[in-house]
């Protein structure tokens, strides 16, 4: 199945960042093509004959000139109307690169947030961090992240932070991990092993989950953190907090995603 990297075109620092990251990632992760999503408005036909079809050609020309590593066949421009902007069902299977995803929107593909980085491994290779809790959400993120790590040749760090159990007299965080999280850990490690992905697991007892995740990513010089949106309703979410706090790019897997890329 062909895999596309979807990027919304914006002529702004944000758009430039997304585009640069996408071009870099396209090469490294072996995606088939870059799909540039370009908003169009038929009303422009009243201003100019041809309705602004030049916009696509101009954009395509400009990008191929700036990024010589992209072949014309690997670049496609897909138009969408202003009405479609808030329900992006027109995205092609693969990934969406978006610096500020709207977490209220259920994107049909996982979202890769560059967090201002110009490329995934431009600062050197580093592992991918997959945090897990006591639920199943980590399986969704791992289903996307592990194949990606394999393709990119990155190691994986599984990360879990647990509340300290006051009934257990031990300073070793591994003694405080609950049974369901232990099962999740075993399953994730088994999946990584089966795929031939080199991994290590870090267990901590921190009082701030997101800070623990980001600190671990900074210590290990991780290049990507894979997180899944939670399924249960509630107030606030780790993904949203991570978007604010993380300088490391994030891979966000939605509620209904999780198929391997």
């Amino acid at each position: 199945m062909p895999q596309a990297l979807n990027v919304f075109y914006r002529h702004s620092p944000r758009g430039e960042n997304e585009l640069a990251f996408a071009v870099d990632f396209l090469e490294q992760a072996g995606f088939d093509r870059l799909v540039l999503l370009l908003q169009e408005d038929p009303a422009f036909a009243q201003v100019m004959d041809g309705g602004g079809s030049e916009q696509r050609e101009r954009l395509s020309r400009s990008i191929l000139q700036r990024y010589s590593q992209i072949s014309p066949a690997a670049l496609s421009i897909k138009g969408y109307s202003p009405d479609e902007a808030h329900s992006p069902l027109f995205l092609e299977p693969g990934l969406l690169i978006n610096r500020r995803p709207d977490l209220r929107v259920d994107y049909p593909v996982p979202v890769l947030v560059p967090c201002d980085e110009a490329g995934l491994c431009q600062r050197g290779k580093g592992p991918m961090l997959i945090p897990f809790g006591d639920g199943v959400s980590a399986f969704r993120s791992a289903r996307v992240a592990l194949p990606l790590a394999k393709t990119l040749g990155l190691k994986v760090v599984f990360y879990h932070t647990s509340w300290k159990n006051s009934n257990i007299d031990s300073d070793d965080p591994r003694d405080h991990i609950c049974a369901s999280a232990r099962r999740t850990q075993a399953q994730l490690e088994s999946d990584a092993g089966e795929m031939g992905v080199v991994y290590q697991t870090v267990i901590e007892t921190t009082d701030d989950t997101v800070e623990g995740i980001v600190h671990c990513a900074m210590r290990f010089q991780c290049r990507l953190i894979a997180l899944a949106k939670r399924i249960k309703p509630g107030i606030g979410c780790y993904v949203n907090l991570a978007l604010k706090k993380s300088p490391v790019p994030l891979l966000i897997v939605g509620k209904t995603q999780g198929g391997a890329l």
Binding site: Y9, R10, H11, S12, P13, R14, G15, E16, L38, Q39, E40, D41, A43, F44, Q46, V47, M48, G52, E54, Q55, R58, L59, S62, C115, D116, E117, R123, G124, E211, V214, H215, M218, R219, Q221, R223, K244, K245, S246, P247, V248, P249
Partner: protein, 412 residues
């Protein structure tokens, strides 16, 4: 190992005891065999005893905790001691060089006389020794050498692990003493076995160079710390590398490093465009890796001051020719087709402020009055670029006809 054996004061106490033993033995044996060289070395050890007391005082002062008046503590006092010991080693090296040259010259009396005609040199003091006194001399010189070697290693090891530069410097001096004693020992053996006491002197020159080098290193490193020399080009380049490897960092505006005692101080101005919440994490990452690196480099404590700044603003003003149709705004194909002009202030590539002007009769006059020297239209091929250029306005082709795709949608 018992904590007490790693305590710098305890170590210096042992060193002082060693000097007492050495001084007593050397003065006694020196007088017994009528050797001013050995006896003189014994008196030198009495002077070393005072130096050991000075080092103990320095360590006591350096250990005092930091206060409001001394925010970095008083650790730099150790480097005053290092500076003094470095200087004394340089002097010792000079003195030993002269003594060895005098010994070599004594082998050639004619040459000695000529040289002494030009330079004032100390008198040559040959070793006075008999078969009866030989075991005493050998025991004192060999024992003294062994003691110096063992104690110096002990001092340097404890000094490095506890971060006391004065203890390391004193250990280096003890090691130098040991080298000199070893040369004396070789001289004694050479005299006894081959009747060739001159062998001591070329060896003495080599040892003098080693002592001089140690003295220079101690003096230079103390000088650099006291005058707040940077941590060095190699370390600074590694520090920059660590910063630039951290996600979120776009560049380094300024880097200043220096050393206070065994504390590495880094003042770094960094470029980032991330917000406060992310900057805290970036700071954590940089400090974590800097600490690891500087620890490997032998520093015991760290003081980091990281300041984060936005990239340079690169402010400028641009104008867009706008055509409004049914309440919607589009980038106009040409200026003549436009109904409005949007004048936008750009900062870091973003539109920070903008105003809308109805297209006047003379739009060029408006652009010049507004200092908007860059005009964007959608179809630049149809625009009269020459007339714009004639008044100093540069024509650009907008990539899109939709203002929102150009970062303009929120401003109106």
């Amino acid at each position: 190992m018992n904590q007490r054996f790693r305590d710098p004061i305890f170590v210096m106490g042992l060193v002082a005891l060693m000097y007492v033993v050495k001084a007593v033995l050397k003065i006694t044996v020196g007088q017994m065999i009528n050797s001013p060289m050995i006896a003189g070395d014994g008196f030198h050890n009495i002077a070393d005893l005072f130096e050991a007391a000075a080092v103990i005082t320095v360590i006591v002062v350096a250990r005092r905790p930091s206060t409001v008046d001394y925010p970095f503590g008083r650790k730099n006092i150790e480097f005053f001691a290092s500076l003094a010991i470095g200087a004394s080693l340089l002097y010792m090296s000079f003195q030993f060089t002269v003594e060895s040259l005098v010994g070599l010259l004594a082998m050639k009396p004619a040459l000695d006389e000529i040289v002494r005609g030009y330079v004032s040199l100390p008198a040559y003091q040959p070793l006075v020794m008999s078969t009866k006194t030989l075991p005493w001399v050998l025991a004192v010189t060999a024992g003294s050498t062994a003691l110096s070697v063992i104690v110096s290693r002990y001092q340097i090891s404890v000094g490095r692990s506890s971060g006391h530069a004065s203890l390391v410097a004193d250990g280096e001096e003890t090691a130098s003493d040991g080298r000199i004693e070893a040369v004396t020992f070789v001289g004694v053996i050479a005299e006894y076995l081959f009747h060739a006491p001159w062998l001591e002197y070329p060896l003495g020159l080599v040892v003098a160079v080693l002592i001089g080098r140690t003295g220079f290193e101690l003096f230079r490193s103390a000088w650099r710390v006291l005058l707040q020399h940077s941590l060095g080009e190699e370390r600074e380049s590694k520090i920059k590398e660590i910063c630039l490897a951290t996600p979120g960092i776009m560049g380094i505006f300024k880097l200043k490093t220096f050393q206070v005692g065994h504390t590495a101080v880094c003042l770094i101005d960094l470029e980032t465009q991330r917000g406060h919440a992310a900057v805290i994490q970036i700071q954590y990452g940089i400090e974590y890796h800097l600490r690891q690196y500087l620890e490997e480099e032998g520093f015991k404590e760290f003081e980091f001051k990281l300041d984060f700044h936005l990239p340079l603003a690169k402010r400028h003003r641009v104008a867009y020719a706008i055509k409004k149709v049914d309440g919607k705004s589009f980038i106009s194909p040409t200026l003549s087709q436009a109904s409005h002009i949007w004048v936008c202030d750009i900062e870091r590539g973003k539109v920070m402020r903008s105003t809308e002007e109805v297209l006047p009769e003379n739009p060029l006059a408006l652009l010049l009055r507004k200092h908007a020297f860059h005009l964007y239209v959608f179809d630049s091929a149809k625009e009269n670029a020459d007339s714009l250029e004639a008044v100093g306005i540069e024509l650009h082709e907008a990539v899109s006809y939709l203002p929102e795709l150009l970062g303009l949608h929120l401003e109106f």
